[in-house]
Subunit: 285 residues, 4 copies
């Protein structure tokens, strides 16, 4: 959801030592900030502390407050991602031909559920060009074949930099992104996989699910990493199916699930609610 | 779940003023306490601040620490419920003839899910006497008829005081507790109602649900108040039903739902996760 | 889902007498029909038999086969609704300003989930005129005020007749339809109410839910009848909420639930899967 | 649920040819039977027909009617499993030390949800001996070590034959049953696996789930086959978890899920609602 008053959100993580909750809140209070949300998690096995803290700064120079917090975090030995909630990040959607997640993301954005600007759509096909135009979003076709993949990914990277993208959402983009691409991109990439991972990773998960005879079908939103369908999981959900449902039914029913799971994951990301550590996520929802 | 190390849990509520998060955590830190959980909620419309904070005190005299916190809370104008997690509260179960919630509560307790002692069962019927004995729990029969209700409730109150009960759980106890009884009891009473309240309050909710043709049937755990089925809701859940299910099926399917919803509510209560305000609850789960 | 081969679907109901399953299937088999789906329900309390049966007729004159079945049903004393699955019914959407259900219905239709033609949109506001045009669907503005309501409803009825509408879907249409209108309309009207009926009928259900402090919020698709929010329920679902969610959050989260619940209900209706009896539905899903 | 009137239930499967629904129902009607439930499924890809049909026979000699139906089924080339609903099958529970599924199965049985007799418990440990006795169920300890496994399984088989068991339920029995044992047993074995299969098959699924960082944890009831955790799935469900839950929490929360998923699967099996084909199930629920 879109915050009305300008706030600062910090996502902190680091070695868990006594007194952190108090030190962080004191730092903010001493500078006149008013904490409106604070949530923390202690991973007791790993000895790691995670916190999301959001406050209304007294200082109108928000950039200065952000910087002051970054310095404070570094002094107490914590990693910190600090964001100004009033600053809208730039999102790029990558899509192929299937349009359900594409429409859903844009309609959520138009309904002001997403605190971002959608600055472009990249597709390996031209099918959604006109629809994208009707939404007022620039559409870029970069065809991909086995032969041209390397060159195409280079173009995609250039375009993302040009668009100053902060986040890429794969809305059922049907090409596997290469390891080098994901290394080079330097911004988070959220993907929706149409199964309950780690079950049915890879291609044709609805066919795999049908063939195994499962009684629930799922969807998983995760950050894309170099290992296919293995990145940190953000959100998952399932729906009940039965022997009456064939692969086509799974595809049809799954569409609505994919939209819901992806939309929620993107919303959490944009609200700075997600901390990644190792191959897992902490979601302060 | 049962906490291993002795901790103090405080449930705070009061007028929301800037700096509360920081002041509370500073108070604890300055006395050497190590905060292991802190969660807060700001009701922005009502201007109320709610917090659950749990810490390992440095001082081995836990009672002194509890008292110090109570005094601190009063100084900053907050109501506080402070508990020592190592102290086991005493629970009494009230039951009639239906035994599914009765078994479920006791089995959760035996599986160490409940941080309490079950010190007795009160029933208006003798049916579960033997079963209760096999669990090693004293069973008290206090019959209730329209004529004897007042006297029976007096006996129940005396018994609850004798047993030093801290919490009463109505495990499908089929008598309406009177207003005077609920006023006099002075300890929380958790009830399970077999519908999704406020739909189908009062008697025979499964019959009501069947007759209305709803497609989901629910269960609601709430604190009992003088107004029947109107107390603060703690937990609710539903399951899907269809035209194929008659009233008997609803009763059968509902049983398992009632157990789950009630068991979770009791667990939250015993872990000091619930703050009641007005007719609502804040559950720090 | 859209059926490929032309089939006949019959929805039968009537007094339950032995041998009905056999008589119905024999009638179809004897005329060379191949039954591809048959599902029945016996309401044992009320003594009523319900059946949905779908078959591929041997006779290419489908209208004749339909007529033969209607006659057969009448001979065995059953009510029958008989439909040719290849015939696309005409749907009209009524909408005000909120557009989430409007978009969802149209996108499901474009994705070929709905076996119908959407022949028009009627609104009391002009807001969605342009969007409707971009989807290629005629949009009709009929303003409604307290004073003009009767005249407006007359216009709506005329328009529905002109459009030869078979079904009206209220996609968060924010006007209460009058009793006389609903009597006169003679085609089914599906409404989405944003609560778990019968809880929170009437106006502002999210506000009601927030104020009662429920832990789940719901949506209900039902056939509109003269009594507000009291018609036969087709589909319901809920999502979990907590004290953290204010009314705005309920509205935002509820939107996605409303879409899912309404979309499924419309799909069942169009696939002739719903039998209404009294104030309830049998859904052969 | 337990059927009151004696009925016959047939589970049919075989090559799908036109007219089967009609032929089966005619056969029953012609012999004076009254069909009270009929549900069928056509696997259109595989060309297989499945049906569950239940009727009240006119003939009081139910065994003769069963035999007549078996012969009829064979004439039309269908496999048939025919059962008299009044005949109670004999169930044996196998358990180790964890008792949650053990209690749940027995309490459902005592609440008359299961149409069977529980004729014995087999365990590799003595821990639940006394509890089993308090339920009035004979308890047999057959210790299993790596060295004695073969001999132990031989004893188990002998005991199952002695008890005339019709169905074995593994209520968190912590030993892998060998291929030869499962070949020799000749009666269905239902197992509960504490994950959403095929994810996290094998040992310590809660640890696997925790380590992968999934956002839902599941349970799967399936028929045990020679390949571990790979048999036909009967029922599955999941619950939401988050970063706040460690392995112990998963175990605790999972317990209640395991009970629900297993209880429902056993109930369907006992009501003759499950047809196995290949590695999948058709569940006529």
């Amino acid at each position: 959801m879109i915050n009305k008053a300008p706030t600062i959100v910090a996502l902190l993580s680091g070695r868990d030592i006594p007194g952190l909750v108090s030190r962080v809140s004191s730092h903010i209070s001493e500078r006149g900030g008013n904490i409106i949300h604070a949530d923390q998690h202690h991973d007791q096995e790993a000895g790691i502390f995670f916190q999301r803290i959001e406050w209304i700064p007294q200082n109108v120079d928000i950039a200065a407050e952000e910087e002051a917090f970054r310095q404070f975090a570094s002094e107490i030995g914590m990693s910190a991602k600090v964001a100004n909630s009033a600053k809208r990040v730039k999102m790029v959607i990558m899509v192929s031909k299937m349009d359900h997640c594409f429409h859903d993301l844009i309609l959520r954005w138009k309904a002001e559920e997403f605190n971002c600007d959608i600055v472009g759509v990249i597709s390996n096909h031209g099918d959604l060009q006109e629809t994208s135009a009707s939404y007022g979003i620039p559409y870029h076709v970069i065809p991909v074949t086995r032969e041209t993949k390397e060159a195409a990914e280079k173009k995609q990277l250039e375009l993302l930099r040009e668009l100053k993208a902060d986040i890429v959402v794969l809305a059922r983009y049907m090409q596997v992104l290469s390891g080098p691409f994901l290394k080079a991109i330097e911004i988070p990439v959220i993907n929706i996989h149409h199964s309950f991972l780690p079950a049915f990773a890879g291609g044709r998960p609805y066919h795999q699910a049908y063939s195994r005879g499962v009684k629930l079908t799922g969807a998983t939103a995760h950050y894309a990493t170099e290992v296919l369908d293995d990145g940190p999981i953000i959100n998952q959900d399932v729906i009940r199916i039965s022997h009456r449902h064939n692969v086509k039914d799974l595809i049809r029913k799954g569409r609505h699930l994919e939209k819901t799971v992806l939309g929620q994951a993107v919303s959490w990301h944009l609200d700075n609610r997600i901390l990644v550590y190792g191959n897992k996520t902490v979601v302060f929802d």
